[in-house]
């Protein structure tokens, strides 16, 4: 594919908004439509858009593959740790160990779901970006 300035500029202007929207979906997942999976994929699609415009090598400078891999591992480790913590506390595997607050608040009143959404968002965003960047290879699409 021949790269043009239009693609380049559009991608650079659009990507930050995609990241922002993705982060919004992740962090407000328990209040409005969205959640970790959806938000994570939107963030990843921002990365993919950049990779398609600038080449995956350039993007990999900002998102090194090994740190994406690390982020995914850490996300999984923390989710599993939370799950096992619930088990150790006697509440059950993957139980809601941070009980919901009574009053409705503007950010979240489901702390457990909030944290899980962020962890899943991290994991999914890193994972999907990693798959695509690896598939694009060194040279880019």
């Amino acid at each position: 594919m021949r790269k043009t300035d239009v693609v380049d500029v559009a991608a650079r202007k659009l990507a930050p908004y995609m990241f922002l929207f993705g982060l919004y979906l992740v962090s407000y997942g328990d209040i409005s439509p969205g959640g970790g999976f959806q938000g994570g994929v939107v963030v990843a699609s921002g990365v993919i858009l950049l990779a398609m415009a600038k080449g995956s090598r350039a993007v990999a400078a900002y998102f090194p593959l090994h740190s994406l891999s690390l982020a995914e591992t850490v996300g999984f480790a923390l989710i599993l740790a939370a799950a096992i913590a619930g088990l150790l506390m006697g509440a059950g595997f993957l139980a809601d160990i941070v009980a919901p607050t009574g009053a409705l608040r503007s950010i979240t009143n489901a702390p457990f779901a909030f944290v899980m959404n962020i962890l899943i968002g991290l994991k999914v965003g890193a994972g999907v970006s990693l798959i695509c960047l690896t598939l694009f290879g060194e040279s880019g699409p």
């Binding site: 969205g34 999984f76 489901a110 994991k123």
Partner: protein, 85 residues
Amino acid sequence: MRRVVEIIAVLVVSLILALALSGEHPRQTETKEAIVENGLADTGARNLVTSVYLGYRAFDTFGETIVLLVSVSGVIYFLSKGGKS
């Protein structure tokens, strides 16, 4: 000949699925009502979808994240080695 067999196979599968999906089915609302009634109080999530996938059925979500994790790991493994033979 082979094409004909394949077309018949696709038609058969469509027929089976169409038969399975058609017909009168009384609505089962017990689970839905339980979620609508208790979702916010139980999990604190105002988005009831979240109350299901991170509250009541968090384990399934956890399973799906494992699927994604394994897929990513597999893609990296298969592509980085580039095939030994």
